[in-house]
């Protein structure tokens, strides 16, 4: 599994893990993130059971497990969190933040050691030693209980399934040509996002944030002007077309 530092400064580092060459072909590729501060670490989107060994060994390159005090789960999908029973035994000291809506469901995976912190609908802020991470509501995009993670100091938005692209293995980490990239995102957003109202509301709220880097859970990371291009594109897109 590859690890790339995508943002760094003010005592904080964002590391993106993904593009695992050993992942079976039929399993959707996922990005995972570690936000590292001098005394803390937050694992965002712990991923599926299949990714666990590769992700753990990649994370260990950056910090020991005792430093990972927080795990964030954006929503209930298996590609986001079917590994939590494994993390539960690996990080018994950690707190797991996930939408309140999914608590009763996620507990079916087995997470009795980590402390479960339900995120209320309006979101919450996790204060670390060098930065604050804001859990920003992204409900119905696609999951009815769903959050993004925003770091205002490094201007990074971890956008979960928003901005996800379905493309062949070995694709680059960053979007380099939005026009070429757009078709790879179209089906995913049209089919998975059920609500135009929720989408438009999210676009409006994200436009108010200062975002240099938008990092989705699948596919490529958007930089600078491509973030705005994505917001414009999503705003114009018709969603919920599976009927």
């Amino acid at each position: 599994m590859k690890a790339t530092v995508i943002a760094e400064g003010r005592g904080t580092k964002w590391i993106c893990f993904g593009r695992d060459d050993d992942m079976p072909e039929k399993i959707i590729e996922t990005n995972h993130f570690l936000v590292l501060t001098p005394s803390d670490a937050v694992l965002l989107e712990p991923g599926g059971t299949e990714s666990f060994p590769a992700l753990l060994s990649a994370v260990l390159q950056y910090c020991p497990v005792e430093r990972i005090n927080h795990v964030f789960v954006s929503h209930q999908d298996p590609d986001v969190c079917s590994s939590i029973s494994l993390w539960n035994d690996t990080l018994p000291h950690a707190k797991m933040y996930a939408p309140w809506l999914w608590e009763g469901f996620l507990r079916h995976f087995g997470c009795d050691r980590m402390e479960f912190v339900p995120i209320p609908d309006e979101g919450l802020t996790l204060a670390l030693d060098q930065c604050d991470l804001r859990f920003v509501p992204a409900h119905y995009l696609h999951s009815p209980g769903n959050f993004n993670v925003y770091d205002a100091r490094l201007k990074v938005l971890m956008s979960g399934d928003l901005g996800a692209a379905l493309e062949p293995r070995g694709s680059p980490l960053y979007v380099d040509d939005f026009a070429l990239h757009e078709p790879r995102m179209r089906l995913f957003h049209q089919r998975w996002l059920p609500s135009r109202r929720a989408k438009d509301d999210w676009v409006r709220r994200v436009r108010q944030l200062d975002v240099d880097l938008m990092a989705p859970q699948h596919g490529r990371i958007f930089r600078g002007p491509d973030v705005t291009r994505f917001l414009d594109w999503l705003e114009a897109l018709e969603v919920g077309i599976g009927v």
């Binding site: 060994p53 060994s57 990649a58 005792e66």
Partner: protein, 207 residues
């Protein structure tokens, strides 16, 4: 360190499937055991009605009652043991998955940050091995309980045979006594058939 994956024989049925099958078969035994109790009540009523004529039949009716109660108790004990073996098996399987995943992670990274994970892996492996020992001893207890219930049924069939001899001397009540013996024989056979199925399933279980 022993292998984390429970050894699985070719064509073997996973234990959790077997445990569910055993529970279902044992539950089917309970009404049969209750039939024996009912028949014992009928037989006792017959003794009261007939007085001395079938008095020698009395110990048999008492035995039937005891047998039915024992069967019900054993079925419940087997069910409970099967549930405990199942629970230990599931947890052992879960820990086996975890142990394999952690080993794979440590195979890929063995730098200084691996110390805590290594210690945790050792603890988890220890827990898994304790569960394996528990599962083996519970599995043995389960086999013993099944052997016990089987022995009861064999005894019941002998008693049924004795009752028939008794029936021959029961004059006008020969038919009634014979019918009690037949019911006992049928119930014991039915229960034995279920127990044999449980045994066969356990033999096919993967561990």
């Amino acid at each position: 360190m022993s292998e984390a994956r429970p050894t699985s024989r070719r064509g073997a049925t996973p234990f959790h499937v077997v445990a569910a099958g055993i529970t279902a078969r044992l539950n089917a035994i309970l009404p049969v055991a209750q039939d024996i109790t009912l028949e014992a009540v009928n037989a006792k009523a017959l003794i009261v009605r007939t007085g001395d004529a079938v008095r020698a039949f009395r110990p048999i009716t008492d035995y039937m009652d005891e047998l039915a109660q024992d069967t019900i108790r054993l079925v419940r004990a087997i069910n409970q043991e099967a549930t405990l073996v199942l629970r230990a098996t599931m947890e052992e399987m879960r820990l086996g998955v975890l142990v394999r995943a952690l080993r794979r992670a440590l195979d890929a990274y063995d730098g200084p940050n691996a110390v805590t994970v290594g210690a945790r892996l050792a603890q988890i492996e220890d827990r898994r091995q304790k569960l394996e020992t528990e599962r083996r001893s519970r599995r043995h207890a389960l086999d013993m309980l099944i052997t016990e219930i089987d022995a009861r049924m064999k005894a019941a069939r002998i008693i049924a045979g004795t009752s028939r001899i008794e029936a021959a001397g029961a004059g006008p009540y020969q038919g009634s006594v014979g019918s009690v013996a037949d019911t006992l024989e049928r119930a014991a056979k039915a229960i034995q058939a279920r127990i044999d199925e449980c045994r066969r399933m356990l033999r096919r279980a993967d561990y």
